[in-house]
Amino acid sequence: MLEIRNLKAGIDGKTILKGIDLTVNAGEVHAIMGPNGSGKSTLAQIIAGREQFEVSSGSVKYDEKDLLELAPEERACAGIFMAFQYPVEIPGVSNSYFLRSALNSQRRARGEQELDAFEFLTFIQERMALLNLHEELLNRPVNEGFSGGEKKRNEIFQMAVLEPQLAVLDETDSGLDIDALRVVASGINSLRREDNATIVVTHYQRLLNYVVPDFVHVLVNGRIVRSGDRQLALDLEEQGYDHVVAQAA
């Protein structure tokens, strides 16, 4: 589904990613872990299409398409979703209007019929229950005045509505208390299918207790220094990044 080959990229002339190789297949969950500043969020944002990052070499293929050639909205319509580390506020635009615009935009791009306000409401009701969200949250402006936990739950709620093929969750666990973490994790798990894939970007392994990854990659200083299964995440937690990095060196 996603194939990254020797990806080098940076911002303002500074190289951040120094040659990333990563293959993600349908049905898989990959965790990308690493210390602060290792390039995890950069990788997530490049997949989503943030323009301020410059790709200097390498390739990113998604379903045989050259992903780097596509605009962010084209990637979204092709099934890529990113849960933001810092969800953005849009004053005056209600959460439900925003989400319906997004969904209909994607449906249009896929040649499907758009949903009217009534159909949309019916459609999202069950998804709201999934994330334990209150209906009044639909009428509030996007992320405005949301608590940290509400913002993160709202991200996963959007994911549940948009049903992406490839979801990239950027530090979705940061700022969540343990109860919120459980809700968010069960939301993510209930969306797992054979035909979609998830990349979980995280600093800590605690989310991985709930969202169990098939693969764990350790990103340090712009390179994936180790890959392994779930056990790697547990080792990291126990021994710290320094130890694992030293072993890899």
């Binding site: 909205e73 990637r75 004053p91 615009s101 997004a102 935009s105 791009a109």
Partner: protein, 482 residues
């Protein structure tokens, strides 16, 4: 001495050189302004003597005035002797014969706005066939209003049919000497709208200039007078939502509103004159004086405006809150894209006790547009318990535009309560990326964010108007990013 004053004086003092003869057969006068031109206009309109005198006095006062330059706008000097001040409405025979004869760009804009075909023809000035005859529409409408004693007609008609009302109220809110452009308008206005709502009547329809197509074409010096008698209520919609190209550059209108005891006037405007092109060539200079007097106690005047057109907008719809417990409101969206410059805002003058005013201003600047909010809240000594709330928000799109705020508070009564909030924000790359990442195109993302920003004002517009205003903002913002 200022050279313009000198120039004006020169004109005033010398004899008219062009051998101008009043010829009732011609439908236009040569360019230029003089007492003869004003007499000609007045005569052509069969006006009573008092009105001719009224115009001439305005003209004489105008000659002593200087064009104001305090606003945050720049433009080449206007030569007032280059303007044609009277040109009878073209007969439909002179207009385009079908939509095929109309500028395709104009048609494209109508399409984007979703204006039905027969309305497009009207707006573009196409000679409309009998089926869509606007005159008959207007007539039906007028009968319905007349049954309730409501007068709604062109200003010229009001001068003929209701001279006592016109004479009583004309210039009573915006005096002839009020400002340079109001004085000019008072001297040369050609037509406009007149409405009178009698005591205790709730106007059953939203009055709109749209229903009087002829009034929409009456050139650049309109005069509107709207009187709501005791305990009456009216909602007035002004302006077409389609861009009208005007050969003439200067548009100097005056609007006067009078609300007596317990009366309620809601005045909504969607202004979309031609804004000029990307390089600032062409476009309307819009110098408009709008003012409402809440003369009676418990009266209310509410201005809502959506300003998307004109190369220059100089406009401050204001409320004089004379009656005790009277209320003034101003809700505004002003958009400046391309090279447009808008200097707009309001004045709230609190005179009566417990008077209240609310100001919500939303300025949007894109491309090389410059947007200024200029507002004055004045609370006079006797305005015991007066309250004002002002909120001025600016939104910037791109790097080359500007937003400016010039609020002025003048409070002379210590029991007054005045609040002012202001904010300036830029449509952030992160906001756009967030929308796009969810699958929304760049253009739609901008519209979404702008609509959210304007929501508080859209809410004040009558439903249909709000929909059209939103579309208009979208059309005006096309190509403003990327």
């Amino acid at each position: 001495m200022n050279s313009e004053t000198e120039m004006l004086r020169e004109y005033a003092e010398r004899d008219y050189q062009f051998g101008f003869v009043t010829d009732v057969e011609t439908d236009a006068v040569p360019a230029g302004l003089s007492e003869d031109v004003i007499r000609f206009i007045s005569k052509r309109k069969r006006e009573p003597k008092w009105l001719t005198t009224w115009r001439l006095e305005a003209y004489r006062h105008w000659l002593t005035m200087e064009e104001p330059h305090w606003a945050n706008i720049e433009y080449d000097p206007i030569n007032y002797q280059d303007i044609v001040y009277y040109s009878a409405p073209k007969s439909s025979a002179d207009g385009p014969k079908s939509l095929d004869d109309v500028d395709p760009e104009l048609i494209a804009t109508y399409e984007k706005l979703g204006i039905p075909l027969h309305e497009r023809e009207k707006l573009a000035g196409v000679a409309v066939d009998a089926v869509f005859d606007s005159v008959s529409v207007a007539t039906t409408f007028k009968d319905q209003l007349a049954a309730q004693g409501i007068i709604f007609c062109s200003f010229s008609e009001a001068v003929q049919e209701h001279p006592e009302l016109v004479r009583k109220y004309l210039g009573s809110v915006v005096p002839r000497s009020d400002n340079f452009f109001a004085a000019l308008n008072s001297a040369v206005f050609t037509d406009g709208s007149f409405a009178y709502i009698p005591k205790g009547v709730q106007c059953p329809l939203e009055l709109s200039t749209y229903f009087r197509i002829n009034a929409a074409k009456t050139g650049q010096f309109e005069r509107t007078l709207l009187i709501a008698d005791k305990d009456s209520c009216v909602s007035y919609l002004e302006g077409c939502t389609a861009p009208m190209r005007d050969e003439n550059q200067l548009h100097a209108a005056v609007v006067e509103l009078v609300a007596l005891d317990d009366a309620n006037i809601k005045y909504s405007t969607v202004q979309n004159w031609y804004p000029g092109n990307e390089d600032g060539v062409g476009g309307i200079f819009n110098f408009v004086t709008k003012r409402g007097a809440c003369r009676g106690s418990n009266s209310k005047i509410s201005w809502t405006q959506v300003e998307t057109g004109s190369a220059i907008t100089w406009k401050y719809p204001s409320c004089i809150l004379q009656g005790d417990n009277s209320i003034g409101e101003f809700y505004s969206i002003a958009l400046s894209a391309k090279r447009q410059q808008a200097d707009t805002g309001t004045k709230m003058v609190h005179i009566g006790r417990n008077t209240r005013s609310t100001i919500i201003s939303k300025g949007i600047s894109a491309q090389r547009g410059q947007n200024s909010y200029r507002g004055q809240v004045k609370i006079l000594k006797k305005a015991e318990g007066a309250r004002n709330y002002s909120q001025c928000d600016s939104l910037l799109i791109g790097e080359q535009c500007g937003a400016h705020t010039f609020p002025c508070l003048d409070v002379q009564n210590s029991s007054a309560h005045v609040e002012h909030e202001a904010s300036t924000s830029r449509i952030g790359e992160d906001q756009l990326f967030y929308c796009q990442q969810r699958g929304i195109s760049l253009e739609d993302s901008i519209n979404l964010i702008v609509n959210g920003f304007c929501k508080e004002v859209f809410r004040e517009l009558p439903m249909e108007f709000a929909v059209e205003a939103q579309k208009l903002l979208e059309v005006s913002l096309e190509g403003s990013v990327g």
